[in-house]
Amino acid sequence: MSRWARIGSTLFVLLLLLVALVPGWLAPGDPLAIDPAEAFQSPSPAHPMGTDESGRDVLTRVVHGARDSLVIGIAATALGMGVAIVLGTAAALSPRWLDAGILRLLEALYAIPSLLMALLIIAFTGPGVGPAIVAVGLSTAPGYARLVRSQIRTLRHSEMLQAATVLGRGTLLRVRNHLVPNALRPLLALITLGVGQAVIWASALSFLGLGTPPPAPEWGAMLAAGRTYLHLAWWMSLFPGLAIVVVAAGATMIGRALGGKVNAA
């Protein structure tokens, strides 16, 4: 990873945080303000990304949409990782029959495509931001859990853990102080990649009308709305789509940078 890529990804994170925390700073308008007279305006100095079918400013909506997308992406990954750490650690440290049981369960869940599983969960809970987080989070958990389990299993017999045992550390201390942190370190890069993936999935759910309900500004939902008018107003779909691409690509870049750093250490 070059110095420039590192600086670039740092700046990117800062910009994204800024946009998510204070969207009004970049786009002072109201993302929900309707102005039928201004509908379907192509990009112009007044509306750099054009306007949609109700005359709402696309730039304002893209900027305000960042928060929801990021919150869903990060919260879903955190939820998935949390479940994975518990399940993976439990499996790795359990007696063989329980480990095998947890593993079969994970494999069964893993066999269902994640997006399909997310749809199933939404079918039970109904659409919304909360359900989207739960759906995306739970559907990524089996994959992470298997990784956590294998990491813990490798570490469990390491000299480091033996040394901790000899020093008289109990199981809880060993797991909390040494096993879990050291197991997660190499997964850090993957987790960051996972955030990008979760953002895409959250948008996909909204695109299907199962995520954030309209008229809230959400990239996937905007993409879906723009699809109807694609022949008339390409900018309605292009810019939210680009936002998704940029966030996913940014997360990937940061993930790779972290991966390189962990491997080098």
């Binding site: 390491s158 000299e159 480091m160 040394a163 901790a164 000899v166 109990g170 102080n177 040494h178 050291n182």
Partner: protein, 525 residues
């Protein structure tokens, strides 16, 4: 007779660093020259420059390799020399052989011409027979995990010899091998020398070099500080540094006599051991899937004394250590610590006792959490896992660092940033934190240069005198065990074949296995 290799005023640099400077030597047929020095002295780089593999910028008045001018050779020309006229015996048989390929093929890889398969196979079998492998036809078809340590070493030597090279370079070829494998490699190198080829031996251990070398060149910081016939260098060293290296060899040095120059002389007054022994093992047994790794082993370690366990790799030493440490449950027998029952016992019931028992491993780096700094590791040990912050334990942490003679400035360094000797000092400091009565030391100096090893052994001696800690000292290295132990147990195939006071076991061995082991002990004093 002209030299096979002649080097004059060789300098090798990497970027702005000059790692080898003004090195000159000659290597004749039928001769063994040893380059001796500690890690980083430039000896390996020097040897690699004879294969065109130094990786740095090479300058020399003369660099003649079998008549070719090494300064002018192209990559292509070097390839014609490498492995064909000048070959290298690799160090680690476990790492150097591909576990998925038959050793016969590993060996014939180096054959230059496109010979027929049958011809290659014949050559592999012939060379395996030459290095003393039994049933070479069968061995050639086996893969390295199917071979014993000794056979792997032979295969590596066969690999170097397959093209009948005139010069063989052995770069630390015996380091970290147990006494018998070392003897085997040395015997092979001797055969190579006696067949009229030249051997360039690279080592940090003067004692091992003494058994083979005709001439010795001592290197330090990229320069040769002393060179001469082996007998003269060993018996009458001229340079201060050579004397330091010689003094660092523990073989035949009485207990508590400092090996390193920096160690002040120790008081040899020791109280006679009294009371219950610190550690008692009774009839320990452990088998793994039918293989009896440890078989009815009993011993006790009196307070303030050292029991040394010596044996080859695979003799059950480490399993014994693991049983004592409660890392593995014995099939039979028991261990008691300071008179209290310790193993086999439920972990939660004996946790409090663990403060009395510490361990030092061969590879300290593996035993540290890589996320902890030196200070955090000690704070963690002092607080029994409650905190990594040094703040509340500053006085005790610096006390420990002082006790093991570690620079207090290293407190914020990560173990990966420390040198091998510093890491082992840190490991000792951590083990001492709970003020244990017994330390189990499993090959604590086997990965270290002889000069560093000397300072660590001196440190362990001093700690024992100061704190009265008992040691269970495990090593494959006879000379280290001889220097460190009050009592010695010789382990062979899971059993103690001979136990007794060190002087008696080494001076008048009773068991034939002990006698065989002792023939491999280098003596040159």
């Amino acid at each position: 007779m002209s030299a096979l290799i002649s080097v004059q005023d060789l300098s090798i640099g990497f970027a702005s660093d000059t790692v080898v400077q003004g090195v000159s030597f000659e290597l004749h047929a039928g001769q063994c020259l040893a380059l001796v020095g500690e890690s980083g002295s430039g000896k390996s780089v020097t040897a690699r420059s004879l294969l065109g593999l130094s990786g740095g910028s090479v300058a020399a008045k003369r660099l003649s390799v079998l008549g070719s001018d090494g300064r002018k050779l192209s990559d292509r020309q070097w390839r014609a020399i490498r492995g064909r006229q000048v070959a290298m015996v690799l160090q680690d048989a476990l790492m150097s052989l591909d576990p998925l390929r038959p050793v016969g093929r590993e060996i014939t890889d180096a054959l230059p011409h496109l010979r027929s398969r049958a011809e290659r196979r014949r050559r592999a079998e012939a060379i395996l027979g030459e290095v003393g492998m039994d049933d070479p036809a069968r061995r050639a078809k086996q893969r390295s995990p199917e071979l014993s340590g000794g056979m792997r070493q032979r295969a590596l030597i066969a690999q170097a010899l397959v093209n009948d090279p005139l010069v063989v370079i052995a770069d630390e070829a015996t380091t970290a091998l147990d006494a018998q494998l070392t003897a085997l490699v040395l015997e092979q190198l001797r055969a190579i020398k006696e067949s009229g080829r030249a051997v360039l031996m690279i080592s940090h251990d003067l004692a091992q070099v003494a058994q083979l070398a005709d001439r010795i060149a001592v290197m330090r910081a990229g320069r040769i500080v002393e060179t001469g016939p082996a007998a003269r260098v060993l018996s009458d060293p001229q340079h201060e540094y050579t004397r330091t290296l010689l003094r660092a060899v523990p073989s035949g040095v009485p207990r508590f006599t400092p090996l390193s120059v920096t160690e002040r002389h120790l008081p040899v007054e020791r109280a006679e051991p009294s009371g219950t022994p610190a550690l008692v093992a009774t009839n320990l047994g452990k088998s793994f899937s039918g293989h009896q790794a440890v078989d009815s082993v009993s011993f006790d370690v009196p307070r303030g004394q050292t029991l040394g366990i010596v044996g080859e790799s695979g003799s059950g030493k480490t399993t014994t250590a693991r049983l004592v440490l409660g890392l593995q449950r014995p099939d039979s027998g028991s261990v008691s610590l300071l008179g209290e029952h310790f193993a086999p016992r439920r972990e939660s019931a004996r946790r409090a006792l663990r403060q009395g028992l510490g361990a030092i491993y061969q590879n300290p780096l593996g035993s540290f959490d890589p996320r902890y700094t030196a200070g955090a590791l000690l704070a963690d040990a002092l607080s029994r896992g409650r905190t990594r912050r040094v703040a509340g334990y500053r006085a005790q942490v610096s006390g420990l660092l002082e006790q093991v003679e570690l620079d207090p400035g290293l407190i914020d360094q990560y173990p990966s940033q420390l040198s091998g000797g510093q890491r082992q000092r840190l490991a000792i400091a951590r083990a001492l934190a709970p003020q244990p009565a017994v330390l189990v030391l499993d090959e604590p100096v086997s990965a270290l240069d002889v000069s560093i090893q000397a300072t660590i052994l001196d440190l362990l001696d001093r700690i024992q005198l100061e704190t009265g800690t008992s040691y269970l000292f495990i090593s494959h290295d006879l000379s280290v065990i001889e220097h460190m132990s009050d009592t010695v147990a010789v382990m062979h195939r899971g059993r103690f074949v001979e136990t007794g006071p060190t002087a008696k076991v080494f001076g008048d061995p009773q068991h034939q296995y002990t006698r065989r082991l002792l023939t491999a002990l280098p003596r040159f004093r």
